[in-house]
Symmetry: C2
DNA sequence: CCTAGAAATGATAATCATTATCATGACGGG
DNA sequence: CCCGTCATGATAATGATTATCATTTCTAGG
C-alpha cells in the first residue's frame, strides 16, 4: 500500500476510524476528534479524501443517503434490507481468495473492494415486504 | 422481485435507465426524461427511491462524490483507480454462483449486490501512483 | 359517466453534506 | 533565523437531495 507520509489530521482520522466497530459519518468523526484536539470540519474531509486515495479508508452510502467511512483493513461487508433499511454485517468476506486470483489475471492493482448485498431480511420478507 | 405497480414517473425513470450503457446522475436522468414528458426533479428522486426499494435500481458513488444510478439487471461492476479516478467495467461478475450459495445459507433474501474494486490502474501504478 | 378521497406530481423553498476560499500557523532547508 | 511551502481552521459558497404544498391524476363506488 502506498503509505508514505501522514499529516496530523490524517493520523487522527485514521486512528479514530480504526477504533470504530462500525462505519461512521464525517460529522461523527469530526465530533470524536474534536474531543482530543483542535480540528476543523473541512480538514476532516480533506484527510478522508487523502486517506481514500491512499487506499486506507473507504466509504459506503446507506439507503437513506448517509455516507459512512471506515478503515479499509476491516474488510467488512453488509446485507442491507430494502424494506426496513437495516444493515447486517457478514462475518466473512465471500470474495476471500477470489480477489487474489483477480490480482493475477489483470494489470489492475487491487487495494481493496466494496461489496454489499441488498434484499429483504427475514422479518420483512415474512410480513410480505 | 417485488414488482407490483409503477407510477408514470417510475416507468419513465426505469425505462431511461435501462437504455443507458453506463450509470448516470439524477440530473442527467431528469434532463433526459424532460425531453419526452413534463416531470419535476423531485419526482425523479422520488421514483429513484421507490425503484431502489423495489430492487430495480441501484446507485454507486464515485471517488469524486457523484452519485450514479443504473438499472439493476445489468449486474455491472467496476475497478476504480484511486489515482486517476477512472472506472473500468468488469466484463463478468466475480460473484456469479457465489451469491446463489449465499441465498441458501442465509435467511436473507438477496435481490442484488454491489461490488467495486479500488486500486491503481496500470498507467498510474507504473508512474508510481 | 360522475364524484369523492387518495395518491402522485411539479415548482419551489429549505436543508445539509461537502467543497472552496483565504488568512494564519507549522515546518524543513538553507 | 528567515523564506517558501504545505497544512489547517473558520466560514462562506455550492450543489445535491428532501420537504412543502397547491394542483393534477387516478381509482373505486355509485
Amino acid at each position: 500500500m502506498t503509505q508514505v507520509h501522514c499529516t496530523r489530521a490524517q493520523t487522527a482520522v485514521l486512528q479514530v476510524l480504526q477504533q470504530q466497530r462500525e462505519p461512521i459519518s464525517a460529522q461523527a468523526l469530526y465530533t470524536l476528534i474534536k474531543q482530543q484536539q483542535r480540528i476543523g470540519l473541512a480538514t476532516v474531509y480533506r484527510a478522508l479524501d487523502a486517506l481514500k486515495r491512499m487506499g486506507q479508508v473507504q466509504h459506503r452510502v446507506t439507503l437513506t443517503g448517509e455516507t459512512l467511512y471506515n478503515a479499509v483493513e476491516q474488510d467488512r461487508h453488509y446485507m442491507t434490507c430494502l424494506d426496513c433499511g437495516q444493515s447486517f454485517p457478514l462475518n466473512t468476506c465471500p470474495l476471500k481468495g477470489l480477489e487474489l486470483s483477480l490480482k493475477h489475471s489483470s494489470s489492475f492493482t487491487i487495494y481493496y473492494h466494496t461489496l454489499e448485498f441488498f434484499g429483504l431480511c427475514e422479518p420483512c420478507s415474512v410480513q410480505g415486504g
